[in-house]
Every structure is written in C-alpha cells, then in structure tokens.
C-alpha cells in the first residue's frame, strides 16, 4: 500500500481541492434560494412585525455564511446574469477646450477645436498633438499663440511649452479624477459587486451587474462633478433636531404605525430589532473612543438591568441609535459621548459617526418629508466619502463621519488652480497644497478670516472628502491641508481638489447591456448544451475505450472542475465565451487521452505485455500531447494579452484548461491506471478487441 501512497495522493488531492474551492459556489446558490424563500414568506406574512421577524431570523442564521460564500463563489459574467458594461474615455478635446479661459475663446479657437474633434474621432494619434498641429495651421498665421488662450499663473514665467506640459498633466490626472467620481457615484447608486477598472491611460471600464436602467446610469456617469466648500455646522441646533426626530419616530412606533417606508425592498433592513443591535454596536465605539466620562450623562433608565435599559433606550431613540454622537469639549480634550435622554445639550461642536450598515436606513429616514422638516432649513446632512481610516485600521469596522453643512456653498471648486499632495518637511506628515486663482484667493481670505477655528468641508458630488479646521486667515490663495491619516488619503484629496479645478470630461465609447431575461436564457441554453456535449463525449469514450474511457472521463470532468475552481479562486468571472473555452478544453483533454490509449493499443498490437504497453504508450504519446497543447496555449496567451473583455474570458479558461489537461491526462489518468493494475493484474480494458485473454 505504501508504494501507492503517492499515486493515491495524486488522485485524491486535486479532487479535494476542486471540491473545497467550488463549495462556496454551491453554498451561495443554496443560501440564495433560502433567502428568496424567506423573502417570499416575509411578503406573505400578514403584518409587518412578522415579516421583520422572518427576515431577521434569516439574517441571523445565514447572513454571515451567505456573505462569505458570495465573496468566494465563481462569479458569472454580465452576459450570463444580465447587467451593463460600459467603457468610458477621457474626452481630451473637451478637456483642452475647458482648460482655455472662457473670456478669451474666439472664432479662431473654436475652429481649431472643431477641426481637432473631427480628426481625433477617426485617428489614433494623441488628441493633444492633433490640437497643436491644427493650432499651428489655423491660429498661428492669424497672429495667435497659446498664451492668448491659456492661463498658467505667473505671467513672467509663462511659455507655450509650459502650457502644453500642464495640459498633458491635466490629461494624465483626468482619468484618476473621473474614476474616483464614478466609483463614488456607483457606490451611492447601490450597484452590488460593481467592477471598475482603469484600462490603459485614457479609459475606464465598468461592469455593473443587475443594472438595466441604462438611461439613469448613463446620465449618472456623464454628469460632471461638483466640488464645493461648505461650512460645517455640527452645533447644538442639529443635535436638538435629531432629538426631535427621535421623539417623532418613537411616537409613531408606539402608535403602531411602524417605520413603513415607501420602498418595499427596505423590508430587508428590518428596523425595530436591528436598532437594538446597532445601539450595542454604537456603544462599543463609544467606549473605545472615549475614556470614561460616563457620569456626565444623566440616566433615566437607571435601576433597570443593563440589557433592558439598552432595549428601552433603543425603542425610545430609533433615529439617534443609528449613529453615535460625541461632544468636543475643547482642543486636546477627550470627546464625550452624548445620549439623547433630555433636550438639554451643551453649546459647542459635535462629531457624528455612523456604521456603514446603518447609512441606508439613515438616509431613507432623512428623506421622509416629516423627518426632513425637522432639520433646520439652511442645513443639510452630508456623509463622508470614505470610512474613517484610523478606526478601520484599529478595529476593522467601517465607521463614517457625517456632518451638518450649511447648504449654501462658500466657494465652488472652479477657483482652484492646482492641488498637490506632499509631505510636511518638518513633521513628515502627509499634506495637500492647494492654490487658488486671484478671484478665489480674495474670497478665501474673507471666508477663512471669518471662520477661524471652524471647520470647512470639501464636498465633491455631495460627499465630504475632508473637513479641515481653519487655523488662520489665508491670504494669497495658497493653503495647506493637514491631518490626513496617510499618503493615500492625501492623494485622494489631491484628486478631488483637482476635479474641482478641472471637470474631467468623460464620454461613453462602448456600452453593452444584457437584459436579465436574455441572461437567463443564455445560461439555460449554454448549460443545457454543455451538459449534453459532456454526456455524449463521456458515453462515446466508454463505448470506444471501455474502462480506460471511463477513467479518461473522470480525468476530463476533474479537469473541468479544476478550471472552474481555479477561476473561482482567482476571482475571475465565467462568461459565455469562457464556457466555449471550457468546451474546447474538453475536446483537448479527450484528445490527450485518445492519443495515449491509441498508443497503448498499438503497443499491444505489437505484442507487448499490458504493463510495458502502458509505459510505452504514455511515453510515446507525450511529445504529441505536449506539442499540440503548447501551440494551443500560445494562441490562448496571445488572445489574453491582445484581447479585451469577452475574448480574455475565453483565453483564460482555455489556458487553464490546457494546464489542467496536461496534469490530468498525463499524471492523474496514469496514476489511476497503475493503481488499478497494482495487484499484479496483467490485463486492462482499453476497449481493445479481446483476442488475447489472460
């Protein structure tokens, strides 16, 4: 037995590996079915509290498992599950046009731009080169230079080369800005599992599963971003408003109206019970971020057991238990958690933090007219663009700050002339240097002067990227922003600020939408066809090669499972061309086994013993198998590097399949045959005519 241990491992290990890697896919589909059942049950349930109960039970029992399984399962491409695929490109011509100073644009310049646009749409030459050529041909003979149209700041240092260099820089930065803006918008729109990738230096590729409303998505993607500076007003008045919202909602609950929101899908976000959990969650952050100081809060639930007190508090405060509130007593002092037990709140600044899971519900509530009416008319609630980096690093939970901002912006982003991430030479902390044009600098001096020690939020597309405190009156327009957690955050802020300086124009150049019904259809027919194909091949192999054929069938099926599991493990997606690649793999894998078996049968015909025929067969078939698979592998590799999207999917499965073929046909098939021959057998059924019996 010991002699065969290695061979057994060769067979068992790949089988186990395939099973382990494919299990999440199976599990996810099972759990999703359970989820659908639960939703159906919940919808049928007579009253809302029952349906909440059902969903809550499901979440508690399977929520985590479903999340992990979904992350590790084999993902289906858009062609199989429906969705929208978009390629966007930075519109360089528009970017040049927008970089020119508005007041200087004349007919000559418009001519140059129009001609450039026409040529650029049909040529692979960089648009900036085309622009320069056209400018030289059209504008220059009329006595114009680039200096007439573009502003580069300091007049004494201005030169044409500088303008071209700065345009080039803007073009390079535009793609990052566009990507950040798009990522944020897609996030807010609520697409599940979006895939956003930069392609080369000018393009962004988006895969948006499940999105079928193309019109809405298109306008979402192509609207230019809006950068604004707004005053932070996290003061007593907003905390009092939150207190009133609590009162309103808790009374509604007590009157039995519940939280019925307009959107039926929010049923998943079951409210009543969730709030208890969230209160506990928020409490942990409170304890973690403060040191004691609990005695400042008067507790009307005193005397109750802690759990009961918590439950009662949550019931009475359905809104404010969604997030945590802290009071900032002063500089360099610990922040104090605030509970909404009375309507008396200290004067001063507050901080609000909300866990990611609660944001959806928080926004749904804020959008209700009766709730929105309680927020002071000149204020709006805006959430951070990214979770707090430090809390995320330390405790691994995603907590977002949110702010009450003055609705009217102090300044808009178009006054920014440049922004650059850097490091403070003395402290070595990441900083962002921001400079403004003359108009902007004047207003900025006035604004900063009037709001010393107050916070000003930098808002892009209605998300706060940073809310620095004004340390001094800034004249001359050059500001330095500090307090970023790391260089990455500083770089993001640089991108955001530049997005205000320059609205990166992007255009959709490729768009594919697969409707969910077509997705279903193609899955069904694709699967059916593949299944029939595999069954036919399996039967044929057994018919012609007997037991050998059955072993080959096992090897081929193992091969396909390995391809799928490696694909799942690599986080790849299975597309329709990918299925085609797998079918080709089946063909190649069968071919390898056919080559081996034919060779063995030939050797038997030459009168060799079974054992030596097997050895010779494998040995002689090897060169043909290697040569044919390697040439096909080359085709796959070239397709993978030159191709895009669907072609790459085909190439990837083809390459994986060839590696699998070499392994299963040469190693696994042989190990099985030798194991079966282990007990001194002298015959083996390769489907050869049985003339010689032994």
């Amino acid at each position: 037995m010991k002699r065969y241990f290695g061979k057994i491992l060769l067979v068992v290990v790949p089988v186990i590996a395939a099973l382990v890697l494919l299990y999440p896919t199976y599990q996810a589909s099972q759990l999703e079915q359970k989820e659908r059942q639960a939703i159906a049950q919940a919808k049928k349930a007579g009253n809302s509290s029952d349906s909440l109960e059902i969903m809550e039970k499901f979440k508690k029992q399977y929520g985590e498992a479903l999340k992990t399984a979904k992350a590790r399962r084999l993902k289906l491409g858009l062609d199989l599950r429906g969705g929208m695929y978009v390629t966007m490109e930075v519109d360089v011509v528009k970017l040049i046009e927008e970089s020119a100073q508005n007041e200087t644009i004349d007919e000559i310049f418009k001519d140059v731009i129009a001609k450039t646009r026409k040529e650029a749409s049909a040529s692979d030459e960089p648009a900036l080169n085309i622009f320069q050529r056209n400018f030289n041909n059209i504008a220059r003979p009329q006595g114009k230079s680039l200096l007439n149209y573009f502003d580069v700041g300091d007049v004494r240092e201005a030169s044409e080369e500088k303008i071209i260099a700065s345009l080039n820089e803007s073009i390079d930065k535009a793609i990052d800005q566009a990507q950040e803006v798009i990522r944020q918008r897609i996030d807010q729109y609520g697409v599940s599992e979006p895939n956003i990738q930069k392609q080369g230096t000018r393009r962004i590729m988006l895969e948006l599963p499940g999105v079928t409303n193309q019109d809405e998505m298109r306008s979402l993607l192509q609207t230019t971003a809006r950068l604004e500076f707004k005053l932070v007003r996290n003061y007593k008045e907003i905390v009092q408003a939150f207190y009133k919202i609590d009162k309103l909602l808790s009374e509604q609950i007590k009157r039995g109206k519940g939280f019925a929101t307009a959107d039926p899908t929010t049923m998943l976000d079951t409210l009543k019970k969730d709030t208890t959990k969230l209160a506990q969650k928020s409490d942990t952050t409170k304890v973690d971020t403060t040191k004691g100081n609990q005695d400042t809060v008067k507790d009307p639930y005193a005397g109750l057991p802690p759990e009961e007190a918590q439950r009662r508090y949550a019931l009475d405060h359905p809104f404010t238990t969604l997030f945590s509130t802290f009071f900032v007593p002063g500089k360099n002092q610990n922040i104090i958690p605030i509970y909404y037990t009375s309507d008396q709140f200290p004067e001063g600044e507050y901080i609000f933090r909300i866990p990611k899971d609660s944001i959806g519900k928080f926004q749904v509530l804020l959008n209700r007219p009766d709730v929105a009416a309680l927020i002071p008319a000149d204020l709006e609630i805006v959430i951070d663009a990214k979770p707090d980096t430090r809390i995320k690093q330390n405790q691994n939970i995603e907590i977002y700050d949110f702010y009450a901002l003055k609705k009217e912006p102090e300044l808009t982003g178009d006054v920014i002339s440049s922004a650059r991430a850097s490091f403070d030479p003395t402290t070595n902390q990441p900083i962002v240097l921001m400079s403004m044009n003359t108009d902007g600098a004047e207003s900025w001096a006035r604004i900063t002067g009037a709001n010393l020690q107050k916070r000003i939020a930098i808002v892009l597309d209605n998300r706060v990227y940073s809310a620095p405190t004004v340390q001094s009156k800034i004249t001359g327009g050059n500001s330095q922003i500090t307090g970023m957690a790391n260089a990455e955050e500083a770089r993001l802020l640089e991108i955001v600020l530049n997005a205000g300086a320059l609205k990166a124009p992007v255009q959709i150049i490729e768009e594919r939408v697969v409707g969910p019904s077509l997705g279903d259809d193609s899955i069904r027919s694709g699967l059916n066809a593949s299944l029939v194909a595999v069954i036919l091949v399996v039967l044929y192999m057994i018919f012609y090669y007997g037991l050998g054929g059955a072993i080959a069938d096992f090897a081929v099926i193992l091969n396909v499972s390995l391809v799928l599991s490696v694909l799942a493990a690599l986080g790849g997606t299975l597309t329709l061309p990918g299925i085609a690649g797998i079918i080709l793999t089946v063909g190649m894998a069968v071919d390898a086994n056919v080559l081996i078996f034919e060779r063995i049968r030939e050797e038997l015909d030459h009168g060799r013993s079974m054992r030596s025929a097997i050895d010779e067969g494998f040995r002689k078939a090897l060169s043909a198998i290697m040569d044919s698979n390697i040439t096909t592998f080359f085709t796959g590799a070239i397709l993978y590097y030159l191709g895009t999207g669907p072609i790459q999917g085909f190439a990837l499965t083809l390459m994986l399949g060839i590696l699998g073929t070499l392994f299963t046909a040469i190693v696994v098939t042989r190990a099985i045959i030798e194991l079966l021959m282990a007990k001194g057998a002298t015959s083996f059924d390769f489907g050869q005519p049985k003339i010689k019996s032994n």
Binding site: S522, L584, D605
Partner: protein
Amino acid sequence: MRYFKNPNIDFLGKRKLFVILSITLIIACVLITLIEGVEYGIDFAGGTEVAVQTTNPVATDQIRTAVSSAGLTGVEIKSFGEDNQYLIRTRESANAPELISNALTKAFPNEKITILKVDKIGPKIGSELRMQAFWAILLAVIVMLIYLAFRFEFIFGVGAIVALVHDVVLTFTIAVTLNNLGIVNLEVNLSILAAMLTVVGYSVNDTVIIFDRIRENKERHKGMNFIKLANLSINETLSRTVNTVGTTLLALFSLYILGGPVLQGFALIMIIGIILGTYSSIYIASAFVIWYMEKIKKIDLETGFREVIGVKPE
C-alpha cells in the same frame, strides 16, 4: 471497440487532386467574399444594436418603418433566436437605444416590448477591435511558426502554417459566403473571432500530431520513401483522428443545436474549421512538405529525404 485494423489507405496518392480542389475552393470563396463584401457585426463596424422581444410576433417591415421614422439611419432588422425576438441595428450610436424603444412602444401599443440586450460601439472602438483581431491572428501564427520550426524542421513549420492559412481563409470565406447567401446568420464579430482563433489552435494541433508521428517513424523506418512514410504516419494516427474529431464534433453539434443564438455562430465556425483542419493536416500540410522536397529542393524521395527532414543531431 475498433474501427480500423491496420489501415493502409493511400491518402497521399490523390494529393494533387485535393490540392487542386482546395485551391479552386479558396479562389471561389475569396472571389465571392470580395464581390459580396464582409458583413461586420456591431463589434467591428460600430453603431448600435438592440435585441427586443415582443409578446407576439410582428412584421419586420413594421419594425423597420417605426424605427426609421424615429430618424435613425441605416436601419437593419434581423431575427434573433425566437420568432418574436428581433435584432435592430443602426449606424447611429448617440441615443439610439432610447429612440428605438420609444418608437417601438409607440408603434406597437399592444405589445410588451422587452429589451434583451444593447450593444453600442463607438466608431473608434470598432476599428481598434478590428486591428486587435488582425494582430492577434498574425501574432499567433508567427509564434506557432517559431515554435514548430524549433520543434521540427523549419519546412514542417511552414507546412503547418500553409495548412493553417488554408483553414483560416476557407473557414472565414465560407462563413462570410453562408452569411451572404442568407443560409445562416454569421456576421463577423468578437465571438466569431474567438472561434477563428480556436480553429487556428486546432488546425495546428492536428497537423502536429501527424508530423510528430512522421518524426518518430523516420527513426524507426530509416530509408523509407517519404511519401510512404507520411502515408504510414497518417494511417497510424487515423484512429486517433477519427475519435478526437468525432468527440469534438459531438460536443460542437450539441452547442450548435442547443446553445442558443449567442453560441450558435461560434459553434458553426468551429465545426467548419475542425473538418477543414483535419482535412488540411492530411492533404495540405503533408502535401506541401512533399511538394517542397520534390520541386524546390529537387530531392529524390526514394533516397535523399533525410537531408531535408533529418533528425537534429542529439
């Protein structure tokens, strides 16, 4: 199970006949293709393509009128799988999907119009993809030539490439011709490209198996007439050829019949390509090597073949 017992078919005896047949077929198909032109799918041509489904079948003429009246140019209507599914194409790429769906809702108030898929390709992307396809095939051919020249004698590599070009050109022009004659819907698009590349791989694969056997037999039967040697090798691998081609065709026919509109074109190209690939390995690749040795190198095949395809010194 066994189909052939020691087959000894004289494949190469009639090689001239088949070469003439192939050349005639290629000339005919290329001419037809040049005259009729290639119908590029949306991927390569650019424009917008919308697949819609109505509750009941409607007349394509009505769809055409409805869509054209919405101001779209170059409108084409094709069927897409089922009776009540249509593929609408236009050269415009701006906001064609909305225009089409609005026009149809207005023209067929009683039908529920479902959009099955939308493909909108800018003109630049189309030409880029065409170039990409061209380079992919060219590069694949070059890399294979290098590999085969390294593994076999150089002239074998050339023989394999000649057979490959034969397969690619014929498969492509046959597909284009079938499409032009309206027999099947086979426009040149990305999945056809993938299929063509698979044909490239398969064609070489098949040729390599036979060449591999020739290389081996050359050692075993030193001094044998090259034509006999090639014929012997083809016969010895015949069983493998039949079984592999058979199983692959089994798989491809099930894809063609059951795979739905998206996989069908792919499968058909593969079927044509694989049949041609098998045929060309025997009649084109081997015939080319024989022709080269006979006519160009002026080698007496009875005695002198080893100078050309001799084994590389160990």
